[in-house]
Symmetry: C2
Subunit: 143 residues, 2 copies
Amino acid sequence: MNGSHALKGMGLKVTPKRLAILDILVRELVYLSPEEIWDRLKGQFTKLGLPTVYRNLEELSQGGIIYKIIHPDRKLYYYYCENVSHHHHFVCIACRKVQDLEFCGEEQITREVEDILKGKVVSHVCQVYGLCRGCSHARTMAI
Amino acid sequence: MNGSHALKGMGLKVTPKRLAILDILVRELVYLSPEEIWDRLKGQFTKLGLPTVYRNLEELSQGGIIYKIIHPDRKLYYYYCENVSHHHHFVCIACRKVQDLEFCGEEQITREVEDILKGKVVSHVCQVYGLCRGCSHARTMAI
DNA sequence: GAACAATTAGAAATCCTTTCGATTTAATGG
DNA sequence: CCATTAAATCGAAAGGATTTCTAATTGTTC
């Protein structure tokens, strides 16, 4: 994963801040809010506005290199995922780690919508919440 | 669907406003925002605060009689659905109608998470967007 | 390295949603 | 039917995440 390359590829200028924002997500592989990313970068840049973080995250997301989490609290969270083909995610509710899922019921859903509801599928979202391997162990032992 | 009965069942007082809010959702069967519901009820009640609508929708949702839509704009929308067993929905992006889907990949997903990721599923969301029968016809003819 | 367009800072605005204290209303039971 | 009490409502105001705006800065290109 080459940050500069990726940014250029989507027609964005390669700025240090933009790179740093992407880098955080690439390194942590958990979903983060704009403010959390801002906090992590404050030490690295004397001047960094929260709007800059918001704007960059939105641009990166538009460019298809990072993704938004569907979160029950209806706030913005982003995560990086290398896998660019269509797939869904398993999100750990304890540590926020995001992992790929193979399974996607697209076919069955499309068939049902077309055959029974006589409608047309445009898109679908699917997200699974739970405890990842590590957190599920930790919890079993702790409680 | 008896509104008063349903409200009592969840330990809520039967007030005219609460009934009217529920009634709108039951009659329209599309997802609506608190403000849209408020607009529809302004004529019916001289005094009706938007916070009242918000509060009631949240209570009804807590009671499990109405549901929140997962919407990309991250705003609140609610809809009524008679079917209380676990299932997902097909949402028309044109008219907002919400229809039940049979299919749910719960089993396969749980198996994948447990067997491959060694994690534990707690919950999952799934929502399909598209054009319902009527809107898909209308669009074909219009464009 | 000059020119230009894109990016950023910082403050302020926006807008959805929630909170608060005071008032009203539904439910209960005598 | 009326009194009591807890729940519900009003209206204003606060809260808080996100976006907008203008001027200043910085990458990119040639």
